[in-house]
Symmetry: C2
Subunit: 199 residues, 2 copies
């Protein structure tokens, strides 16, 4: 039997994608599911719904609950949690660097390190300096990577992923999509998505 696959669509500004990014690799390995990491930009998708910022900022009572809920979830997983300022951050450069890394061997480590810096330490991840720091921490030489991240090829790839996300009716992050097109939205649907992928 072929190895079942699951696509993991994520945006670095998304809060609940932090625990999802931390959990998915060991859970998928235990389930025998191969995961494809798919960074995309949520901004254009939110804009199409009439939102100019995170819905957690647009609806403050919902936002307050989300931060508290995320804190509880991180506590239960023994993940560090610090609310970042500002929120949300511009994640364009981080997403482009992730694409560079996912075509090499350090992509998943970079994604987890970005999420941990942002939501585990409350750091800014929206500038080149911060990205360089994160790359250094995972032992990757930043110079060539940043050049490559700003190449037309990588820019086009991120645009293509974002357009594909829209075509797939993705409206939030994290989203998991199985090979037969079943869409699961949210960190709390990761287990169900893995079950579906291998059934």
């Amino acid at each position: 039997m072929a190895t079942p696959t699951l696509d993991f669509w994520f945006e670095f500004a998304s809060t609940y994608s932090y625990p999802a990014a931390m959990r998915i690799a060991p859970l998928a390995e235990a389930a025998g599911v191969a995961v494809r990491w798919r960074p995309f930009m949520l901004g254009p998708i939110f804009k199409a719904q009439g939102w100019t910022t995170s819905p957690f900022n647009l609806y403050p009572v919902k936002g307050r609950n989300m931060w508290r809920d995320l804190e509880r979830i991180c506590g239960a997983l023994d993940l560090p949690f610090v609310k970042p300022k500002p929120f949300p951050q511009n994640t364009l450069l981080a997403a482009r660097v992730a694409l560079v890394g996912l075509a090499e061997v350090w992509g998943q480590d970079f994604c987890r390190a970005i999420y941990r810096a942002e939501f585990g330490e409350g750091r800014k991840i929206d500038e080149a300096d911060a990205i360089v720091d994160v790359l250094r921490n995972i032992g990757v030489d930043a110079g060539a990577v940043l050049d490559r991240a700003q190449s037309n090829e990588i820019k086009s790839q991120l645009r293509a992923y974002t357009e594909e996300a829209q075509r797939l009716d993705i409206f939030g992050s994290p989203t998991f999509i199985t090979a037969d097109g079943e869409l699961f939205w949210g960190n709390d649907r990761l287990e169900a998505a893995l079950d579906w992928a291998r059934r």
Copy 2:
């Protein structure tokens, strides 16, 4: 030690409140937690956020995913599922009747029967005829109950519950609130709420 308590706030138009209403009694009993059922009206709360109908209607891609997700959840729980038309329905009378029942012995049965009629059979639950049917099915004489449901006392109680929900920062259904004020939103947070209640 006193029995831990959990308040279960629910609106009959809420889709994910259907599996929550079906699951909460046995889970709470197993956890040794006493649950107080608190019907309220989500309409005024949505209106305060600028929504005139369900966000699942306002954001169609999110709505399509919700129906599919609910279908999967009901499938996993062996609960019948039929998408009701129209959605959402007017739940004012059902909520008032629930308050009558929750002060007697048949309240929880009535709540489960309304959810099952609405989302398990796709039936209308927004008119007196439908409510009478549901009451008959659980063996309750409808006449006196409907009169009582339209009394000023019950109308005031439902208004008071709805105002209390707003004061508690409730923004959706189902919502679970522990005795120490911890708020959990969503069917998928029921287990976490019960854990919190008894810790």
